[in-house]
Symmetry: C2
Subunit: 256 residues, 2 copies
Amino acid sequence: MNIALILSYDGTNYNGWQVQKNGPSIQESMETAVFRLLGQKAHVSGVGRTDSGVHARRYVASFRANCTIPMARLPYALNSFLPDDIAVSGAAAVPESFDARFDCTKKEYAYYIYPSALRDPFHARYAYRYHYPLDLAKMQQGAQRFVGRQDFAAVRSQGTPVKSTVRTVFWCEVEPVGELIRIRVCGDGFLYNMVRAIAGTLAYVGGGKLTPDDVTAILRSGDREQAGPTLPANGLFMNRLWYEHTPALDPFQLGS
Amino acid sequence: MNIALILSYDGTNYNGWQVQKNGPSIQESMETAVFRLLGQKAHVSGVGRTDSGVHARRYVASFRANCTIPMARLPYALNSFLPDDIAVSGAAAVPESFDARFDCTKKEYAYYIYPSALRDPFHARYAYRYHYPLDLAKMQQGAQRFVGRQDFAAVRSQGTPVKSTVRTVFWCEVEPVGELIRIRVCGDGFLYNMVRAIAGTLAYVGGGKLTPDDVTAILRSGDREQAGPTLPANGLFMNRLWYEHTPALDPFQLGS
């Protein structure tokens, strides 16, 4: 059977989702847990390859195996073989054709900035500290320039070659959350490091180094050098997911 | 000069405040930072010996050294020699007689419980997960039984010998904070593991294993066996501090 898992993880101690030769990965932890629980070597494939240090508030992965454990019990059973920084919160039988990556119709990342001259040890793992004051209204104006179907070549890093650098961003919202500023970007797909470069560009807009109009010009230029920096991985979370053609995942409210 | 520092730390990776032979301590990190910054071996003494894994939202320590760095700059200077999980947020010149421990007139600890059958990787470091439903109102009733000048022998672990097990608890409050339950205990002093045993007793009250009246009876008995368990260190925070006779610390609002 084909089983989808809903999980979350603190990515601090991992070299990202994908199995790596030179360090621990979430995928490896998941495949080990499945093997220890079911005695079967399964390939656990995920909604995306989060980078080293990136977190997931919600993440969907799937694997094929024989499993007689009821789906309602499977999260507890798997968690007993997982470290504290990875947790499975849901499991569902999905159609044989289900693919965690290609069946995801929309996904939202969140990037957290802690605007403070001084450090806070409790934000250190989960937010990027920005030394200088940030103008929230300016950031909100700049964020709107990322919305729409556009070429995002100016806000990506070179990675795996892609056919096109055009993507659709459905929304890009900047809002205060306690002491932090949260940037949420929802799209149909993301280029390598795209959200971290959007966050870096919005930090420059908030700090006055760029204007909202500059954002539009930078996107048109397609020139990575003109945009803001790629902010560090620790502030980035896979936040919400939509699988609009997979009713089996509806009960998990991944978009809430 | 005598210098007081306000700091905070994520205690996960430390064997507590006090210098240990067999592992890293916050005190050692502080003394190393002072030495690297000022070139002077100073003894940094703290408000209390937090145990291995316990966190501090606020903590006060002090040391004697020659220091020409302005107090407003000292936190930044020290932070550059400290790891990400320890941060100095304030510094003040205090009278020669100042002692971080004995001049603290009141301190408040917070204990966080995450009531959930399922794990959450983002709470794992900072809250104790309790599998069973908890009755908040019962916990609030039980908490009131800890308030007052009483013998707390029933809710302490054997540690360093003390002259008396009588302490004054000024308040003991239980309240929801997001998905978590927070227990705040403020007192003039605490016995070894006292807050963790109070939290364990209140978890038993919330889960129905004990009643609020049992709490009163347990305190009267002085019998550690009758109270609830000592909950793990990861849920415990040194939260607020009061130095009512040290005006130099007033600007830092340690009690807010």
